[in-house]
């Protein structure tokens, strides 16, 4: 009865590496998300949430973990493709204060 399992793929075709997330972002996303981040180079990284329809508090903890690593390594972590609801949650949790949120991927990668 649970939703789709978490998936992530690394898209390095554009000016900024994009991690395309899919399925449920919850505690099960921890390992794959950490591995994808580690393999996404040393520059800015965009988390694309377009194919994500469920994020819970354990998923938020996973994202906070990625954000903490980005800050420690001086890498900018951005987000795009969030629904209004999860954008609001990113604002309520103040993740949005530390992670730039863009409406779509083209604006997220435009800054370089």
């Amino acid at each position: 009865m649970s939703g789709a399992p978490f998936s992530v793929s690394i898209d390095e075709s554009g000016p900024v590496v994009v991690l395309r997330l899919g399925g449920d972002v919850d505690r099960n996303a921890q390992e794959a998300m950490g591995a994808a981040y580690s393999n996404s180079g040393a520059g800015s990284v965009v988390l694309d949430f377009t194919k994500v329809d469920y994020i819970n508090s354990t998923g938020i903890a996973v994202i906070v973990g990625i954000l903490a690593r980005g800050r420690a390594e001086g890498r900018s972590v951005r987000a795009c493709g969030l629904t209004d609801h999860y954008r609001q949650i990113f604002e309520i949790t103040r993740i949005a204060d530390f992670m730039a949120i863009f409406d779509d991927e083209s604006s997220a990668v435009a800054i370089g």
């Binding site: 009865m1 939703g3 449920d24 819970n56 508090s57 903890a61 903490a68 949650i89 993740i95 530390f98």
Partner: protein, 490 residues
Amino acid sequence: MAYLLGSGGPVDVERLDLDSEAVRSLRAEGVRLVVPLVSQGELIGTLNLGPRLSDQPYSTDDRRLLGALASQAAPAIRLAQMVRQQEVQAKERERIEHELRVAALIQQTLLPKDLPSLPGWDIEAYYHPARAVGGDFYDFIPMSDGRLGVVIGDVTDKGVPAALVMATTRSTLRGEAQRHSDPGVILASTNDVLHGEIPPAMFVTCLFGILDAASGRFLFANAGHNLPYVRTSSGVIELRATGMPLGLMPGMVYDVVEGSIGSGETMLLSSDGIVEAHGPDGTMFGFPRLMGLVGSKVTDAESLTATVIADMDRFCGPGHEQEDDVTLVAIHRGSSAADSAGVLTALLDETDSFSVNSEPGNERVVMDRVGELAARLGMTGEPLERLKTAVSEAAMNAIEHGNGFDPVLAVDVSVRKHDNGLFVRIGDTGSVTDLASRAAPNLEAKLEGTQEPRGWGLFLIEQMVDELRHEVLDGRHVVEIRMNLEGAGE
């Protein structure tokens, strides 16, 4: 005797050249002539004659006459004997049948005379032994705390031996239920009493459950009996608990499993007689067929038992002989079951209530079911999303922190609409302090690694909902979420 049988006619006692006790005793009684009565080669008696009045010896004519009389009389006497024998046997049969009728009457008094009456619930029982008396039984026992004990059991074997063991088991269970309130302890102590009191080759399967009418919680333990089925809105589920049958060996332990009957849901308890019934081609009725019937669109307890019995009759074919005792107990919770427990808010109009096991991922089951209901009630857009997130987080807290991922512990969910609010209650076995003691999340600290990344759940719920309350009710921690329905269509 053999001599008489072989003599072919009257025998003169005086001339008998035999020195036996029988001959001496005949002579002592003054018997002169013995005429054997033989029918179909079997000696069935003798005509013993004393001396003639004239004291003359019996003539050849006399002997011929007596011989003819004996050959005519013997079959008639034999017939009379047989009639009399049959009369005795018939009387004996009648006595046994009478005793069985009395036994059946006594057994009827051991089964509940009336079905329990619980407001908002409807309960039905069906009992049909294969013989005059049977080894199946069911019982309803009022517990001291107001909950209802529900029992179904099945003694090995049929007929009188099974009925006697059934009577012992029933009264032992009743006694133990007065002393204990834990179904597992009740079965364990009943097992210890029965072991040694019933014949070694016999045992009893038994399920003991305790129903809390207010919440629909059904705590039960199982001594090898068939599992209960519950028809829920998302299909039929099997409530699983296992244990050794009663009476086999002492010192058994029975785990208590928590099930739940939500509003509109029906539970069926059954004995082997249904699933082990055979069709004309030798196939067995089986569990899948029974499960299918429980899932059929019957609403109340009585129609469920009637449907199952009618289907079993169809399956077995016309004129079949019932092989085993058949017992059913159906318990149906009405869709507007009154909640008599202490409540956080005086609420009406319960719209749904259900339970899930404490397994990771089930928070999404809760979220989807509550979300669908809220959508039907007109909630859309951001408020609906906020409700779903809050319900998912609250259910996850209950599964993880309240019940510690213990799959036998249930998370209870109830949804009510009242005035302009939607109230969702989520219950677990934890305590309020578990939640209150948790520190509020500090993102800076988490990013710097001085606070663990987790710990967002309660904060999120508080941010998502219009009101959040906690309470401990009957030892259960309950979180109540309120969402305003006004402006739900924004």
